[in-house]
């Protein structure tokens, strides 16, 4: 069963990007064959609800825990953080990695 959301209003660009980040993270979790609860356990969370919050596009992976998320999802931390930055702060991502993907 997948999580679901319903916005009370139309979502502008920042929200669209946050949702896209959530979808990307959900895809990584699916490829890692982890449930939200299992990922939360790997990250040391007492409750799994924050994983759902992030995947639904209503929360962000804190910078200080990006490495832990990357490793829990079997990703290389630098590439993982760079991809997240493209969603969370696209302008900074453009400045830092212009011409790079």
């Amino acid at each position: 069963m997948t999580g679901s959301t319903h916005f009370a209003r139309a979502a502008p660009e920042a929200k669209r990007l946050r949702k896209a980040a959530g979808d990307w993270l959900k895809g990584l979790r699916g490829r890692a064959d982890l449930s939200q609860v299992e990922l939360a356990k790997r990250l040391g969370f007492k409750y799994y609800t924050f994983v759902s919050q992030v995947e639904n596009g209503f929360g962000r992976v804190p910078t200080e825990s990006m490495e832990a998320w990357a490793l829990a999802l079997g990703q290389e931390p630098a590439a993982f953080a760079r991809q997240l930055l493209s969603y969370y702060d696209p302008e900074l991502h453009r400045l830092l990695f212009k011409g790079k993907r």
């Binding site: 069963m1 997948t2 999580g3 679901s4 959301t5 319903h6 916005f7 009370a8 209003r9 502008p12 920042a14 929200k15 449930s35 939200q36 609860v37 969370f45 007492k46 409750y47 799994y48 609800t49 924050f50 994983v51 759902s52 919050q53 639904n56 209503f58 929360g59 962000r60 804190p62 825990s65």
Partner: protein, 151 residues
């Protein structure tokens, strides 16, 4: 003899599934208090992959961050900020107004302001209406969002 066990309020609150109307009224009252404080402009509802419902309070533009997420997991309501911090957990949404979280960050300050405003609105109208009405809490629950927006 056949015993038919009717579900109690607590039974309904303990399983996954969408928000009930009474829960949404409480959550919308919290949201209205946030709007009044300028800390939110909209809300959204969602669910975890297990079907546990979530209610998101979202800050106004240009920084539409989630400032509060309320999730119902089993018999608990978990209140988290937008970066994974657990603010509080309660077994009844009405208790949320009484939970004054330790104010450590601006984000938590906004949460506390919203909850305090909600409590103030409820308390104020409870006093005024209780003398006149037989079912004051029900009335307050129904009108709190509109009243909070007017205060």
């Amino acid at each position: 003899m056949t015993v038919i066990r009717l579900k109690t309020h607590r039974d309904f609150a303990s399983g996954p599934g969408p928000w009930r109307c009474d829960e949404l009224r409480e959550l919308e009252a919290i949201f209205a208090a946030f709007v009044h404080q300028g800390g939110a402009s909209e809300y959204a509802v969602g669910a975890t992959e297990r079907g546990d419902p979530q209610f998101y309070v979202i800050a106004p533009e240009p920084d539409p961050e989630c400032v509060l997420c309320v999730s119902r997991v089993g018999r608990l309501y978990l209140v988290e900020d937008g970066v994974g911090g657990l603010i509080t957990k309660v077994s009844d949404l009405k208790q949320l107004a009484d939970q004054r979280p330790n104010i450590l960050s601006p984000r938590h300050r906004i949460v506390a302001k919203g909850v305090a405003a909600w409590l103030a609105v409820r308390g104020s109208f409870e006093e005024k209406v209780e003398a006149m009405m037989g079912e004051p809490m029900e009335l307050i629950t129904n009108v709190a969002p509109q009243l909070a927006a007017l205060v």
